[in-house]
């Protein structure tokens, strides 16, 4: 049962890991993108639309489906959808100097609305009786496991029994961590987020960095939405099932102190905390809801501890949430 608990925690944690890695990339450039929940939602529905069209094109027969296409089409659709969201955000905040918080919240509302609209449209196309779309065939390609390693007992189950997107999430987080802390691009990115005027004077293209990091961050976050549908929900899309995972991803950024490598551990911990209510005996419905608040309680604790310790390296990027305009005096 403990193995099952851990596996489940990882499965629940992966969308959060995508979301928070994406948000960290974005926030490092000084963009507090509160649109992440909407972007993850759009990332999910874009992937769903892509695979829906591909499944239909193959006549809904798994035999006609190409494994590579079945995976890559939803992936690319998801990335395209969330990059468009990231572009909207960047255009509004960087080019038009709109308030970041307002823009982000608007994108979240917009993204959820768009997702539900597309979801409902697909449901009405399929004339399904249930308020959901099942893309189980595509999902089966997503959750294909490594054939031999997962049979290695408990350890094997924990380490090797996951869908490929779980490993991709960890890889992205590690690579991001390396880029941010060890490379020139990372140094420039951090400078843009800490002090854009300084970065600008040093010859760094602030606009380019902010656009790119926001769009790349959105793409990564959007994959979290797709992973949720394809792996966690076994390819079943129903409106609003994604819940508050986007917000949890943002909380996880704070928990991880803006470090993607911490986010890996944090996401699994959050996954475990979200799931703990199912493993504690004798909980009433209302106490279960209390349990679901645990990730946020932990985040608040981290906030309290870090603000008490006052270590400068553990603070958010210096100009987080502030727009930069060079000739603004």
């Amino acid at each position: 049962m403990i193995i099952q608990f851990i596996c489940r925690a990882i499965l629940l944690g992966v969308p959060l890991l995508y979301g928070s890695t994406g948000e960290i990339i974005t926030e490092k450039s000084g963009h507090l993108n509160l649109g992440i929940p909407g972007i993850m939602y759009v990332g999910a529905i874009s992937g769903v639309v892509g695979s829906f069209l591909y499944e239909n094109a193959c006549g809904n027969d798994i035999a006609n489906m190409n494994a590579f296409l079945a995976v890559i089409i939803p992936l690319l659709c998801s990335i395209a959808g969330s990059v468009i969201m990231g572009l909207i955000y960047s255009f509004l905040t960087v080019t038009l100097h709109a308030n970041q918080n307002v823009t982000g919240l608007a994108l979240t509302t917009f993204g959820v609305g768009l997702g539900n609209f597309l979801g409902a449209s697909l449901i009405s196309i399929t004339k399904s009786e249930l308020p959901s779309i099942a893309l189980t065939k595509t999902s089966s390609f997503f959750v294909a496991k490594l054939p031999f390693l997962s049979n290695l007992g408990g350890i094997g189950a924990i380490l090797f029994s996951h869908d490929f997107m779980t490993y991709l999430a960890i890889a992205i987080a590690l690579v991001t961590s390396f880029i941010i802390s060890r490379t020139r691009v990372g140094l420039n990115l951090r400078a843009v987020g800490e002090n854009p005027a300084t970065a600008d004077a040093a010859g760094i293209n602030v606009v380019k960095y902010r656009y790119l990091s926001t769009c790349i961050g959105s793409a990564v976050a959007g994959l979290g939405g797709l992973q949720y549908v394809m792996a966690y929900a076994s390819g079943v899309w129903s409106n609003n099932a994604f819940g508050d995972r986007g917000w949890m991803a943002i909380a996880l950024v704070i928990f991880a102190l803006w470090k993607p490598s911490f986010a890996i551990v944090g996401s699994f911990l959050f996954g475990a905390l979200c799931n703990a209510n199912n493993y504690v005996q004798g909980l009433g419905t209302e106490t279960q809801e209390l349990f679901k608040m645990l990730p946020y309680v932990v985040t608040i604790l981290v906030l309290i501890i870090t603000s008490m310790r006052k270590k400068r390296e553990h603070q958010p990027p210096g100009s987080l949430g502030l727009n930069y305009f060079r000739e603004d005096r």
């Binding site: 060890r182 040093a202 010859g203």
Partner: protein, 514 residues
């Protein structure tokens, strides 16, 4: 040897909306010389230099570098022309180390901090810097940060260096050290342009001086052939007396006594350590010290904005002669006690005025508790606003213009005017002439002198030691939250004050070593 022109500006014009910041400026700087750009605040010095360093782009005119026309559209272009600018407000990332800041934005080959650290140490030795490449910026002193800024441009191989008011935050000793470095660079064949409004620095450091006034180029003179009076006339456009009058204090009596107060900040560090002094009526008490040595906390303690750990502050009422403690009182309680305390904080638009409100509303911030009516009476504050605009020559479109839209000097006049209008018995001003032109500065000095003549105890926190020495009756020097000395303004020297300013720091170092 013929002088090599490093950079030439021809007919440069830059506008911000309707405001012309630079108009037809012509300027030449040669290799192996130090050129000073002299001008009052708002005369367009910084704008001009920002165009050379690629922050702004000129609307008209040409820039020549090494006698070839150059287009500098971004800071990166400026680096390619080997132009380096050291900004007045440091452009450093606080959480980065010195080395990370130095290599920031350089796009060549591999990213290798260790190699860079070696290179930085080599340059340090060449010019005689003190720099620890691994040290984080937020742990550095102002002078160390400036060293990092200079290192940044040298590391990129700059041979045209522009320094924007580099001495504004340095002690006299640190300034001398900086000048020594600059002279060494000049002898190395670099072209150095220094922006300043301090005349004596211009005279002691530079080879030639170019003067700007209201965005226009006035002329260039050789430093050896000029003097303060001529330069001031070029800068202001008319002759002005540069002497601040100082009358002897009349029947000075104790007004405010600060008795060994100690304050700690939120992180638990001691910001004021056992500070004691007395401010007398009819006297100007100057406070000198490196920025951030506890000046702000000291004034805030008196104003009732800081919690005291130890010590007490007593106010002597001039009418009743009663001695009253101000400890643990809020500003409102202090006012209700009948203590007439006026405070001009250094952060004008943060603590002094509300930027988005107009002049009348800002006047009301001091009087809103008066009267029992349900509605506000706007007549009196409006009259006061008009009086201040008239008396202090505030340039504003009207009384209902948001204060934020006024220039720095005019904002300061509104604030000082309001505080003086409350006819205080104690007037505290922090950096009242920061960002003001010479005329406005002298107007503020005169206002302070008027208050002094009225028997007000004036406490003046300043940064320009020359002004402090000319204006104040007594000068108290604060270093790292401690009083390192109180000297007589009539007999002291800049060197004496400078030594006192750094005294606490050295003592602290010894303590750590010992």
């Amino acid at each position: 040897m013929k002088k090599q022109p490093a950079i030439e500006l021809k007919n440069i014009t830059k506008r911000f909306g309707k405001v012309v910041a630079n108009k037809n400026v012509n300027l030449t700087a040669y290799r192996g010389e130090i050129l000073s750009i002299l001008g009052e605040n708002g005369s367009g010095k910084t704008t001009l230099m920002n165009m050379i360093s690629g922050i702004y782009f000129p609307d008209e005119g040409q820039i020549f570098i090494d006698e070839k026309e150059a287009v500098i559209a971004s800071p990166k272009d400026a680096f390619d022309y080997k132009i380096g600018m050291i900004h007045q407000h440091f452009k450093l990332v606080d959480v980065f180390s010195a080395a990370e800041n130095v290599v920031l934005g350089i796009e060549d080959g591999k990213y290798n901090l260790k190699e860079s650290v070696k290179e930085i140490k080599k340059i340090s030795e060449q010019y005689g810097f003190d720099i620890v490449p691994e040290k984080k910026i937020y742990t550095m002193s102002v002078s160390e940060k400036q060293t990092v800024e200079i290192m940044k441009v040298l590391y990129r191989g700059a041979d045209i260096l522009i320094l924007d008011e580099p001495t504004a935050v340095l002690t006299p000793q640190e300034t001398e050290k900086l000048f020594a470095v600059l002279r060494r660079m000049r002898d190395d064949g670099k072209c150095i342009i220094i922006i300043t409004h301090k005349l004596h620095e211009v005279l002691s450091l530079s080879d030639r001086v170019s003067v700007l006034r209201k965005g226009e180029y006035i002329g260039t003179v050789n430093t050896a052939e000029t003097n303060e009076a001529q330069l001031t006339e070029m800068m202001v456009g008319k002759k002005i007396a540069l002497n601040i009058k100082r009358d002897d204090p009349k029947d000075a009596e104790e007004r405010l006594t600060v008795n060994s107060i100690t304050c700690v900040d939120r992180s638990g560090a001691t910001v004021l350590d056992n500070v004691s002094f007395t401010a007398k009526s009819g006297e100007i008490l100057g406070i000198a010290g490196i920025a951030g040595s506890g000046q702000r906390e000291l004034l805030e303690s008196i104003a009732g904005l800081q919690r005291l750990e130890y010590g007490d502050i007593f106010y002597f009422d001039p009418k009743t002669g009663k001695k009253e403690s101000l400890r643990d009182k809020t500003p409102i309680q202090i006012r209700n006690m009948g203590v007439r305390l006026s405070f001009v904080p250094e952060d004008r638009l943060g603590m002094g005025l509300v930027g988005n409100m107009d002049i009348v509303d800002n006047m009301m911030l001091r009087s809103y508790t008066k009267g029992n009516s349900l509605f506000l009476k706007r007549k009196q504050p409006k009259d006061l606003a008009l009086k201040i605009i008239n008396d202090l020559e505030v340039v504003t479109p009207g009384v209902s213009t948001p204060v934020r839209r006024l220039s720095g000097g005019n904002v300061q006049k509104v604030l000082v005017g309001r505080e003086i209008a409350a006819s205080p018995t104690v007037l505290m001003v922090a950096y009242p002439v920061r960002g003001l032109d010479i005329n406005s500065s002298y107007m503020i000095y005169n206002l302070l002198n008027e208050q002094k003549a009225k028997g007000v105890a004036v406490i003046f926190v300043g940064e320009d030691l020359d002004v402090l020495i000319e204006l104040c009756d007594k000068i108290m020097v604060i270093g790292s939250g401690r009083i390192t000395g109180i000297v007589d303004g009539r007999t002291t020297s800049k060197e004496e004050i400078g030594l006192l300013m750094t005294k606490a720091k050295d003592e602290g170092k010894e303590k750590n070593n010992g």
